[in-house]
């Protein structure tokens, strides 16, 4: 992981150097198109772009996280496309993966920053205790997460927030958020931030975003949460193979009923697919083997903000997050009390009204004639 000069060679050159033929490169591009959720017909354009793409320097920062995101990225079988992509980038600093430790590691980071000002990418996983929090909640080499993030992004080309903690605060940011955890986009306002959410994100999505950056030299189209539209543009529900059962009204009611065995829709078991935007339904997990819904479990909505606080994982999407029958009863009881008080007042008023009514006499009527 020693610092090389990453901008010397193009991606095409470095692949060719590794003995990859043009046909192999075409195959690589076809797979990359698939990974980037682009149509296969884009492969030649990708090939042309990648031929000329420069290898960027990447600094990977890990803050309040569980390493799940890194695990996700590295648990793919080698040599995969992801490896190829990672090999051609220059990963100059990664808390978890780097061999170096202590001052040497920090030195690598500072060197990468100094060598490529304005050009390096910063990848962040984990949330950050905000500037108003006690910095001691999470530190690296004596630097608070906040200080390290701000220092590192200062001259970065862009920041890729990986995982729901970095994108939305995630588990550390869940109620009551003791560390005052914040997301990258809460803190970084003057640099482009790409969010690759998920707990963890699909590994191909992480590399797909990097590949996109390499291929086109710019950031992909993003949604309102700064997530790449290519992967987060459609909901789980819209791409779910069980969707026809939703439309037909066929639902599993428990995890082992007839409907569950027949693979019916998991909506009633609390599936958050309708409100969740991610690519699981098409890209799947474990090298495309399967994904949660296919395994018979409802989507938890892990790529969405505050998914830990969005009510029970097994509560239907339409169910309120906090109210219960008890609350309704309580409101009803309050209503009965207030109602009784208002009613008593009304009763009094009626009595007063009747008492205030004055009988009409024939003389009074005659006076009107």
């Amino acid at each position: 992981m020693a610092a090389r000069n990453p901008t010397d060679k193009t991606l095409g050159e470095s692949l060719r150097e590794r003995g990859v033929s043009r046909r192999g490169f075409l195959k690589f591009c076809a797979a990359t198109a698939s990974m980037m959720a682009l149509p296969p017909s884009m492969a030649p354009a990708i090939a042309a772009a990648l031929e000329k793409a420069k290898r960027p320097s990447v600094i990977w920062l890990s803050f309040q996280e569980c390493t799940g995101c890194t695990e996700s990225l590295t648990r793919s079988h080698a040599p995969t496309l992801e490896d190829l992509i990672l090999d051609v980038i220059s990963l100059d600093y990664h808390h978890t993966l780097q061999a170096a430790a202590g001052d040497a590691a920090e030195h690598a980071r500072e060197q990468a920053m100094a060598a490529n000002p304005g050009e390096y990418l910063v990848i962040v996983d984990g949330s950050i205790p905000g500037p108003d929090s006690n910095p001691g909640y999470s530190t690296v080499a004596g630097h608070s997460n906040y200080a390290m993030l701000m220092e590192t992004v200062e001259n970065a080309a862009a920041v890729i927030a990986v995982g729901t903690c970095a994108t939305f605060g995630g588990l550390p940011g869940a109620n009551p958020n003791p560390t005052g955890a914040m997301s990258v986009m809460d803190l970084v306002k003057d640099k482009p931030v790409i969010n690759v959410s998920g707990c963890p994100p699909i590994p191909m999505v992480i590399t797909g975003v990097i590949a996109h950056y390499l291929t086109f030299g710019r950031l992909p189209e993003l949604d309102a949460y700064n997530r790449p539209m290519a992967f987060f543009g459609q909901s789980i529900h819209d791409r779910c193979y069980r969707r026809p059962f939703y439309d037909k009204g066929l639902f599993a009611k428990t995890f082992d009923d007839e409907g569950a065995r027949l693979g019916w829709c998991l909506y009633e078991l609390g599936c958050k697919g309708p409100t969740t935007y991610n690519a699981c339904a098409t890209m799947r997990w474990n090298d495309g083997t399967s994904w949660p819904v296919e395994a018979g479990h409802p989507c938890l909505g892990c790529s969405e903000p505050r998914f830990w606080d969005a009510g029970g994982f097994y509560n239907t999407v339409s169910v309120p997050t906090s109210a219960s029958g008890v609350d309704v009863l309580a409101a009803g009881a309050a209503g009965a009390v207030v109602g009784g008080a208002v009613a008593a007042l009304a009763k009094k008023q009626t009595k007063t009204a009747v008492a205030h009514r004055q009988p009409v006499t024939v003389e009074e009527l005659e006076a009107k004639l």
Partner: protein
């Protein structure tokens, strides 16, 4: 940071609690106001009991008498269509049943979603028809108040956002789902303070009507 998902969670959380509390308190106040006022003792010798005719009128008023139907077929049919459509969508759509079940523990079978979506589309058209009717028919125009139009807008918003959410025509989906839930909550909040109360009080009114006529020997 405040995006569509945060908005959805707000409507499903704090706002829902506020709405349900105002609704429950307001409605009970309304109903208490009616029953505490009560009726004076009636000394006139009755021809028949009050309960039977009262309950019968509670049901029979749902259908217009043939003469009224002939004179105001549009009003009657359109009113029927959208009321029934609204009730079907409200009570027989799976997500709504799940919501009711979470609050009350009661549940029942749902209709297939395509049926609900069709019914909802018809309801929307009927609601637009009621608005046009209200704005053009001389009687309705004359007696309509600001409240009538506000209530129409809220009811229409509930159905429209529900329809948009079902077809996922607004992106992102949490935004439209949140708008649907919020408009339903606005409807709940307004319910005890507007003519929407009739959802509950019409049965009291019909009972009083049926009872008053019934004791005189007429099934009203």
């Amino acid at each position: 940071m405040s995006g569509s998902m945060e908005f959805l969670l707000w409507t499903k959380g704090p706002m829902f609690n506020i709405a349900i509390a105002i609704f429950a308190i307001g409605l009970l106040v309304r109903i208490a106001e009616i029953f505490v006022l009560g009726r004076k003792k009636n000394f006139a010798e009755a021809r028949a009991g009050e309960w039977g005719p009262g309950f019968r009128t509670m049901l029979t008023r749902t259908v217009a008498d043939p003469g009224t139907f002939q004179r105001a077929p549009f009003n009657v049919v359109v009113g029927w269509v959208w009321h029934i459509g609204f009730l079907i969508a409200l009570l027989l759509f799976l997500p709504h049943i799940a919501l009711i079940e979470s609050l009350t523990g009661l549940s029942w079978p749902a209709l297939p979603n395509p049926v609900i979506s069709l019914v909802t589309s018809v309801t929307l058209v009927a609601l637009i028809a009621t608005l046009v009717h209200r704005m053009t028919h001389p009687v309705k125009k004359r007696i309509s108040t600001v409240e009538d139009y506000v209530v129409w807008a809220v009811v229409f918003a509930v159905v429209l956002t529900g329809w948009l959410a079902y077809y996922r025509l607004v992106n992102p989906y949490p935004l439209v789902l949140g708008m649907h839930i919020l408009s339903a909550e606005i409807m709940l909040i307004l319910l005890p303070f507007t003519k929407l109360t009739h959802i509950f009080t019409t049965f009291i009114a019909r009972w009083y009507n049926g009872a008053a006529f019934g004791r005189k020997g007429v099934q009203s």
